[in-house]
């Protein structure tokens, strides 16, 4: 994206005020979403999501590990995002993309993994345990931003949801005669896989405030005009799983409450659209 002139900025702000953005969208319309699953065959699950010119990939790898002593009945999940230098000019120079990568990783961890005790997580960590206290699955979820045109958080959350739908965790047989002190022997099956139940995984809706109005799914040009942005993670039941605010301008609390109800309303359509796209992607992956 080249810089914007005063005339162009004014045009963008005017469009948002009049509910007709530069590409003809209304304020609360998403760009067309394209989902492909199984794009990384070596991973246990993967997906690629395109939202206009924003292009992200998420991959899920599972390894056997030991649960932490504090929570012996839960597996470990780690989410890490990397911004590829090809995504945007500002990522090319040295550590340009690192700050954004950290911000995205933390935001996704908050939304999908819940609190420190694992309560309220979108992904249930107790389903990852093999032998309580001894063996569990460690999930490594990696997000890669290939091309950035705004709204990275929503795209990454959608990609992670799709990748988890695509994930098959191998079945593990535990040797029956294990004593209580030793590590039990495990036999990882090559054939049978367990699928995750992803209906509880939330989506993220980011509302960007420009002037007096908020828009959903901002492009990088529109994001450059924002005063503040609130990202709200909502699940299928309409419950809020996470909330983040970016941008230096302060917001009146009543505005935040209004944004939350708008995000809830938008998330219903988004979840349905995303689920149908993921189902279609999985179906076409099976055919090929």
């Amino acid at each position: 994206m080249v810089g914007l002139s005063v005339g162009e900025k004014h045009f963008i702000q005017g469009g948002i005020a009049q509910d007709l953005r530069s590409d003809g969208r209304k304020r609360l319309t998403y760009r067309p979403i394209y989902v492909e699953t199984g794009v990384i065959p070596q991973a246990h699950g993967s997906a690629r999501v395109r939202l206009g010119a924003t292009d992200v990939i998420a991959s899920v790898k599972a390894e056997l590990g030991k649960p932490s002593a504090l929570q012996p009945d839960k597996g470990n999940i780690a989410i890490y995002v990397d911004c590829s230098p090809t995504a945007a000019p500002m990522f090319e120079v040295g550590r340009g993309g690192e700050e954004l990568s950290t911000e995205l990783s933390v935001a996704l961890q908050r939304c999908l993994l819940g609190g420190k005790s694992g309560a309220g997580a979108g992904i249930d960590p107790t389903s990852l345990v093999v032998v309580e206290g001894k063996v569990c699955w460690d999930l490594y979820i990696d997000g890669l931003v290939i091309s950035s045109d705004g709204n990275l958080l929503d795209a990454l959350a959608a990609a992670i949801k799709a990748a988890l739908s695509n994930t098959g965790i191998p079945k593990v047989d535990v040797a029956a005669d294990a004593t209580s002190d030793e590590q039990p022997e495990v036999n990882i099956s090559d054939e049978e896989f367990l699928q995750f139940d992803t209906s509880g995984i939330p989506v993220i809706v980011t509302l960007t405030k420009v002037g007096r109005h908020y828009i959903v799914d901002a492009t990088s040009e529109e994001e450059s005009q924002m005063s503040s942005a609130v990202s709200i993670s909502v699940n299928r039941k309409g419950h809020i799983c996470g909330l983040m605010k970016r941008g230096g301008v302060g917001l009146d609390p009543s505005i935040i409450l209004d944004m939350i109800s708008v995000a809830k309303h938008v998330s219903e359509q988004l979840i349905n659209k995303l689920d149908s796209e993921i189902a279609a992607a999985e179906a076409s992956e099976e055919e090929s």
Partner: protein
């Protein structure tokens, strides 16, 4: 110079010549050149814009200026009258102080904005499909979108892309016949 142009301003100009070291000399001497405001700038691959007689198009039925730059920068904006150069200098110095305040109040009217968005989306569709971009093709694409009564935003969906692509062989065979 900063009271006239600043960094990131969009300007239309002609290339006068190349220097030995590779830099360009631009000229913007007639009133049809100059700063562009009130519109949007689209960036496509440069090879899609072929050299033609006219690069500045005034689309009268929409009241919109369309400028096809050979560097791939395409401007779609409200029509600006090319003013008489003699009168302008006096008026400009008093106008400049007024213009920033005016901008805060007046936005582009909705119908004009819809036309600008429709034309811009037509350019985006043609760029995605890899077709050479010229004013006639853009106008035909816009007409097609109005004929099938498709929402401005839906022009960027897959169905409209397929429609435009399917219509292209017909169009080219018609053009071939006309030339002969």
């Amino acid at each position: 110079m900063r009271c006239i142009f600043e960094e990131n301003d969009v300007v239309c100009a002609e290339v006068r010549n190349f220097q030995h070291d590779g830099s360009l000399q631009l000229q913007a001497r007639s009133q049809k050149y100059g700063k562009l405001e009130k519109g949007q700038l689209l960036i496509v691959d440069p090879y899609l814009v072929k050299k033609s007689k006219q690069h500045f198009h005034h689309l009268e039925q929409f009241g919109i200026d369309l400028i096809l730059g050979r560097n791939g920068f395409i401007w779609v904006g409200e029509h600006v009258e090319a003013r008489d150069s003699m009168v302008v200098d006096q008026a400009n110095s008093s106008e400049q102080s007024r213009v920033p305040e005016e901008k805060n109040q007046t936005h582009t009217p909705l119908e004009m904005r819809q036309n600008i968005c429709r034309i811009a989306n037509a350019v985006r569709v043609l760029s995605t499909l890899g077709f050479s971009i010229d004013a006639d093709l853009i106008l035909e694409t816009v007409e097609l979108s109005s004929t099938v009564k498709i929402d401005i935003h839906d022009m960027l969906g897959s169905e409209f892309h397929v429609l435009v692509a399917e219509r292209e062989p017909e169009r080219r065979s018609l053009m071939g016949k006309r030339k002969r």
